[in-house]
Symmetry: C2
Subunit: 344 residues, 2 copies
DNA sequence: CGGTACGATGCAAGCGCTTGCACGTTCAGC
DNA sequence: GCTGAACGTGCAAGCGCTTGCATCGTACCG
């Protein structure tokens, strides 16, 4: 009988099964040292008492916490972060490892995080999702004393899983070039809190590279900054009021592209007839809206990162410490050949 | 000096500050029993060693884990769940409480969760976010032995924070009625995994109530099921091929409404000229797309739930155990008066 | 100037597990 | 039948904190 009010402890299970606490522990962990019959008896007793191992006690005794941390910047309700949490959680669950979220909202929280290191002694591994760490921060993280896995950020010597932002953007822009577009604008989202978006600049780089490849002079490579995901109208105006307006716009994220798409519709224009539009990510809504995009398999990337973290947390050596996940250009209904600028 | 390889422990800090471990503990927790000078010395020593209290040891000794669980159904990358995670995390951080995510994907995971109770002895409180629990599941959760807070689900006797789905939908439909619409269709999303969406049926109820109020017979209250968030085209076809097609469509979520909006545009129609469209939620993209909607302040709701959980976890008695958060009808550009069915 | 009270600190007993080691049993091999 | 594996189980020492209680000064009171 468990002590009336509180939870059943391992001692309660042991008593009920008529064995020692040590045996209960071993049985519940599936140790081969325990005979099948005993194990069965223990399992039954545990079930009857609704016993669940206390992770806290287990962690203290074993040194393994059974918990992996996920460090994220920016809002968690965006498509990318949400997908990452989802995918990481899914990989962790079968391994019976829990997921603790660490989120940094702004400069201040960021400083606090790296000073106080709340994850210290508290997770078996930490996944750091796409934000641009400074060298000092990176160094500081090392003192955590747990394995680190970087997600969509590559740092020499640190295990990481990432897409190739440069190549992805390059492929996307090449796609537009292949449709005959030459005047292409690239819209980059500039965050209020710098350093939280690692990918933007690299995507610009891909754009430039594709454009240069096609012989477009650097001064004709139009890059527009969007200071807000809602800046669709603004961006559209900036772009269309040029003397020679672009025939295609590529945005560094779908969320941004969707805003621009809405602005296009609102302006009484049509994509792709009046303007081709390309996003980046393959946001859940992109397909629904027919938005062409450079798809990044975020769930896959995050899943790989989780696997890597699990491997490292267990003290095993991963097969590969650096994984690059491919992107894929998906042309839907917002992109088309440049020519037929007749419709209205 | 901390033991070379491993982390500094409280003993290391104690040694460095020239006090006992007990004093370090008290000092670091801001106990008034410690003199200011000693406290300062301890804090300094801790800082020099980058010491962080081991939650695991602290939890075992004190019985307070410093961790709150969040149980979610369905995909985490959707707007609602993302917003909830965000908001809960933000309330927990100042209280120095961590957030652990429990997510249930399908029937199987659901059964495992309620059988094995992984949250047992592992969190100080559990927030259960909008999914329809069966009575048995609810009962089972009680055996967790920790305070429960329900988010967007109301169960007698359990602390909860929720919007009034019925009233929200009713207000929304009233808005459409006020614009002159009489033939209104309500689109309900039916999940593949039943029981994960608590709100859908109650929103239908609100729709019926408003329609009845306006004198529309029950058989003329058109409710359409969408089996997928991508079912926009399908839904639109179903609706428009009726002998007397509705002039307005209300969906039980913005994500669904956005899909329908896309289908409308794709069909060469226009909202609101050809069809008024109303969503529910006020998804981040709704504003960007000009979608009219019944806004639910999910961040606020989740924040309140987190506060409630913190209060209960600390053993304090909350001022209110049941909180209802108001919704608000926001009419943007996809809704309009019924009359001018002339445009093309 | 002794007694008392109080503020500051240390002692030590856990919290509920894990795990190295010791201790039977049982059984095969010789 | 005796020895030694091999197997299954229990003992007990922690893991690194928290916290009730004892202790020690010091200040204050009469």
């Amino acid at each position: 009988m468990p002590t009336s009010d509180s939870h059943a402890s391992m001692a309660d299970v042991a008593r009920r099964a008529g064995v020692s606490v040590a045996t209960v522990s071993r049985a519940l962990h599936g140790s081969p040292l325990v005979s099948v019959e005993t194990a069965a008896r223990v399992t039954a007793a545990a079930e009857e008492l609704s016993f669940a191992i206390s992770r806290v006690a287990s962690g203290l005794a074993s040194g393994r916490l059974g918990r992996i941390g996920l460090l994220l910047g920016g809002p968690l309700h965006g498509w990318f972060n949400g997908t990452v949490i989802d995918a990481v959680h899914d990989r962790l669950t079968p391994a019976d490892v829990e997921l603790t979220i660490f989120r940094i909202r702004d400069r201040a929280e960021r400083d606090v995080f790296f000073t106080r290191l709340p994850a210290r002694r508290n997770v078996d591994a930490l996944i750091v999702a796409s934000f641009a760490l400074t060298g000092a921060e990176h160094t500081r993280l090392q003192t955590l004393g747990v394995p680190l896995v970087y997600l969509n950020q590559r740092v020499r010597g640190v295990p990481s899983v990432a897409i190739d932002d440069v190549a992805g953007a390059r492929d996307g822009v090449r796609g537009l070039l292949g449709l005959g577009h030459r005047r292409i604008a690239f819209v980059r989202s500039v965050q209020r809190n710098p350093g939280f978006r690692y990918s933007a600049d690299r995507r610009v780089e891909g754009f430039r590279s594709a454009m240069a490849e096609a012989g477009v002079a650097e001064r004709d490579q139009l890059v527009v900054d969007a200071h807000d995901l809602d800046a669709g109208d603004e961006v559209l105006a900036t772009v269309l009021t040029r003397s020679e307006p672009p025939t295609a716009v590529a945005a560094d994220s779908d969320e941004l592209a969707i805003g621009i798409l809405a602005a296009v519709v609102r302006a009484g224009l049509r994509a792709p007839d009046d303007l081709s539009l390309l996003g980046f990510d393959d946001h859940a809504l992109a397909g629904r809206l027919g938005l062409s995009t450079v798809a990044q398999p975020a769930a896959l990337t995050a899943g790989e990162a989780a696997d890597l973290a699990l491997t490292l947390a267990a003290g095993r050596v991963p097969a590969r410490r650096t994984i690059v996940v491919p992107t894929r250009l998906i042309l839907r209904r917002t992109t088309g050949p440049v020519a037929p600028r007749a419709a209205a």
